[in-house]
């Protein structure tokens, strides 16, 4: 009988052993698979462009200070001693720069002084050597991250980067026998049991770091016997397969350490930045103890939640470290005296959301969404956050101003409110500096810069005038008389915006004053098909038909395509491809994607220059002249646009350095009861006044193939000395009028004297 019992018991043990071995083998395979594959999903990060600073640069102090704050620089009262600190004094700023690391430039953080002059930066110099710095590049700003479902932030670190005192602090807080046990610490479990029995409640856990790792990686948080059994099995397997420092590295990267808004902070690498604004290797003993103390209950002990509780927990960790003789009494006392200075954070919404949407569309052609949320790519963009902020503010203020000035524009429903959009580009490079696709992204994600199709109105006229340059000159005379046209069997009678007495007008004046009748006359003489061809060359993708109303911008365009078209004038006849993405880099700094400035010549530099000169006339004396009393005193070219019944108001203005398009209107096409000059232009002016760093005051260079001729303002012919008013007009070479002004060149005493002088010269 006894023999039988022994036999069955043995059999049960053998079978149990086999089952356990099979289960252990299964778990081992799971561990191996999980650890050998990618261990974490790292969200890809989108960065703005870098910021260049140089002596003589104009600044908007409030935007600049905001930029520094967004880059994580913290104000201190002493001379900055570590990266990310700023001291602002009278007339100068001492700044300990963060490291810069982009695919195109790298530098170590150094202490510099930026001296300010009346308008901006006076000097930049290194404070260690006194050496002056001619140009300084600030690191790019983080704009957003592509999170997966986990919504975790994590900066991976290797165990070699972790200071020994942080490892000891973590062990002191969680598992001081980590290097002695084999995954499960029986002594620790026993000690925790005694402590908990003594207090009658759960006061201490017996889980080792390896068990915590097994739990986080493979198991649910449920407290069941089965889960505990699995946890123990997994811990032993992990310990058998990996060495202690490897396990520690995975643990330190995995552990949850707090919350930034809706995003979890995981790993000591991310926590070091989140709480102390520095890389993990620079953490002090006190800071290391704070982070180690957080593991127990990150949000309870967070310095952002309760600094007293955080300090008490830190002190517990430091005492434990001292108890295990990992730090000296002196180090303990010094660390205990240290105040806890967390750097603070802004749990902000996504910046530049419409820009990000536009960028994401392009990224999705290169990467799957799941890759963007897991591969930890660094995505460098063209966005200038100072320009973006200035554009957002200018648009918000401008729309509010319009609503306040006209109650008929006010709407109750958020989705029906007056809308607007701004695109800011560098015309030579095609870089998109700012993109505001609407008034409020949370209300409407419809991107009015890249998705809307709106009639451009008079903002389309430059394409018509450009098309005519081979047949006409800026001084050619056009009929400004009312005429009727038949379109598809229907009568069409265009009108000027307001009645005018000029029945004949020069081409440049017709553009300057945005005369509709003269423009249609020009379009009909130029040939509508020719204008349609020009529009296609300029990459307008929407249907444009050869109807007379084409001349007045009756066919819808996509705003980004209109802005791109104007770039051609600002960029000497070449059109850049609009760029939002610059570079994509993987976790190992390998460049995966470059997007460079890409240009295509569409018209000659001479044609572009003649257009610029006429569009500068619009700003100097035409429909956009109000810019001058809005603080815009530097050379600007541009065009206003207003569509039928005031449904759309536009202004596109540019210099050789920067181009901005502003649109204002209702999504449903309700009239806004204001022209482009009244509604869109003030927003443009506000924007440009807010970004003085983009104002060089540079005028457009006159290329070869252009003639500058003094023209009589009355006759449009070459001015003579008797002409009462004349102006310099730019012509394509060989297109300028050859005749002198006959009106002021004949008769009268002066004319006779001039003839006499001519005779004298000829006689000699």
């Amino acid at each position: 009988m006894l023999k039988k019992i022994f036999k069955y018991t043995l059999l049960i043990f053998i079978l149990g052993g086999v089952v356990l071995a099979i289960y252990a083998w299964h778990l081992s395979a799971r561990v191996e698979k999980r650890f050998s594959a990618r261990r974490w999903s790292i969200p890809s990060t989108v960065y703005s462009d870098t910021t260049l600073l140089y002596p003589g640069q104009r600044l908007n102090p409030s935007l600049f200070n905001e930029k520094l704050a967004n880059l994580g620089y913290n104000r201190v009262d002493h001379l900055p001693a570590r990266k990310g600190e700023i001291r602002i004094g009278p007339g100068a700023m001492d700044i300990f720069l963060n490291d810069l690391k982009t695919p195109w430039n790298q530098r170590e953080g150094v202490l510099v002084q930026i001296g300010f002059s009346e308008n901006g930066i006076g000097t930049i110099r290194r404070m260690d050597s006194g050496e002056t710095i001619p140009i300084l590049e600030l690191e790019p700003e983080e704009i957003m991250q592509f999170f997966g479902q986990e919504r975790e932030r994590r900066q991976l670190i290797s165990i070699g980067q972790v200071p020994e005192h942080l490892i000891q602090a973590v062990m002191a807080a969680e598992d001081h026998r980590f290097f002695q046990h084999h995954g499960v610490d029986l002594r620790g479990i026993f000690r925790a049991l005694i402590t908990n029995l003594r207090h009658g409640s759960i006061r201490q856990g017996g889980s080792t770091l390896t068990q915590q790792l097994a739990k986080n990686y493979f198991l649910t948080p449920a407290r069941t016997i089965t889960r505990k059994f699995k946890e123990v099995m997994l811990s032993v397997i992990i310990e058998l397969k990996y060495d202690k420092r490897e396990i520690l590295e995975i643990y330190l990267n995995e552990i949850y350490l707090g919350q930034k808004g809706s995003v979890a902070i995981n790993g000591v690498g991310e926590a070091a930045y989140f709480y102390f604004g520095k890389p993990v290797k620079q953490l002090t003993l006190s800071e290391a103890a704070v982070i180690a103390g957080l593991i127990k209950a990150p949000n309870h002990y967070s310095p952002y939640r309760d600094i007293t509780r955080c300090r008490s927990r830190r002190d517990e960790v430091l005492q434990a470290m001292h108890r295990w003789e990992w730090i000296t009494e002196a180090a303990l006392q010094a660390a205990l005296k240290q105040p806890i200075k967390a750097v603070g954070f802004i749990a902000s919404d996504t910046k530049a959301p419409y820009f990000i949407d536009y960028l994401t569309e392009q990224l999705n052609t290169l990467y799957r969404p799941e890759d963007l949320s897991s591969l930890g790519l660094s995505i460098y963009t063209t966005l200038d956050t100072q320009v973006q902020r200035a554009a957002e503010t200018a648009l918000a203020n401008g729309l509010t101003r319009l609503e306040n000035s006209n109650a008929a524009l006010q709407r109750e429903a958020p989705g029906e409110k007056l809308q607007g959009a701004i695109l800011v580009m560098q015309p030579k490079t095609g870089h998109i500096l700012a993109l505001v696709g609407g008034r409020n992204y949370s209300v409407s994600q419809f991107n009015r810069i890249t998705q809307a199709r709106r009639q451009p109105g008079s903002a389309f006229k430059p394409i018509v005038y450009l098309s005519s340059l081979s047949q006409f000159t800026p001084t050619s005379l056009l009929s400004n008389d009312p005429k009727s046209y038949t379109v598809n069997g229907e009568l069409w009678e265009p009108q000027n915006f307001e009645p005018v007495t000029e029945y004949t007008v020069s081409l440049k004046d017709a553009l300057k004053k945005s005369y509709n009748l003269a423009t249609v006359d020009l379009a009909m003489q130029t040939g509508l098909e020719h204008i349609v061809d020009m529009a296609r060359r300029f990459h307008f993708s929407t249907p444009i038909k050869p109807y007379p109303s084409l001349a007045l911008g009756a066919f819808e365009v996509i705003p980004i395509e209109l802005a791109r078209a104007y770039c051609v004038f600002a960029a000497e006849g070449v059109q850049p491809f609009p760029l939002s993405l610059k570079e994509v880099v993987d976790e190992n700094d390998k460049i995966l994607e470059h997007q460079y400035l890409n240009i295509e010549r569409l018209i000659t530099p001479a044609e572009a220059f003649v257009m610029n000169s006429m569009l500068q006339g619009v700003v100097k004396e035409g429909t956009a002249r109000s810019l001058q009393w809005r603080g815009v005193s530097w050379p600007v070219a541009g065009k206003t646009g207003t569509t039928n019944d005031f449904r759309d108001a536009w202004f596109v203005g540019y210099t050789p350095d920067i181009l901005a398009l502003v649109w204002v209107g209702f999504d449903n096409g309700d009239p806004i009861k204001a022209t482009g000059a009244a509604a869109a232009l003030p927003i443009w002016a506000d924007l440009m006044n807010a970004i003085p760093q983009y104002r060089s005051g540079t005028d457009f260079n006159m290329p070869e193939g252009v003639e500058k001729i003094l023209i009589c303002s009355v006759t449009g012919l070459r001015a003579v000395a008797g002409c009462p008013e004349s102006s310099e007009v730019y012509f394509l070479a060989g297109h300028a009028p050859s005749e002198d002004c006959p009106l002021h060149d004949k008769g009268g005493f002066t004319g006779k004297i001039i003839k006499g002088v001519k005779g004298l010269i000829n006689a000699n």
Partner: protein, 138 residues
Amino acid sequence: MPIKAIQIICLVLLAALLAGCPKPILKGEPSEAEVTTPSEAAVEVNPRAAASLQLTDQGRRLIEDRQPDKAIRLLEQAVSLHPTNGQNYYYLSEAWLMKGSAAQAKEFNQLAEIHLKEDSEWMIRVASQADRIAELEK
């Protein structure tokens, strides 16, 4: 009255008239501050131009080190700061030549030509670059 005497009287009268006449109104005449060229004088008054030249020089050195990708990035920054400095376009063209793209090299070469036309030394280089581009296109 002899014809010569009439002509002399005319000349004297003209001088007297011109001395009292106002200058014709010149619209669109650029002021000194608006005129810019990539000359040293322009760089002195334009901080953006001065900063841009630093980047141009760094870009040039990267091209010499045969790092066209990094050079393009720096030269793009240089163009952003000072779009009328033709040297940036010259070096951009060099970088694209190095990358084997004749089409882009040609576009930048043409821009360099526009902006460097008043600098005979640079124009020799621009012309030589155009020849190399044409060679690559074959």
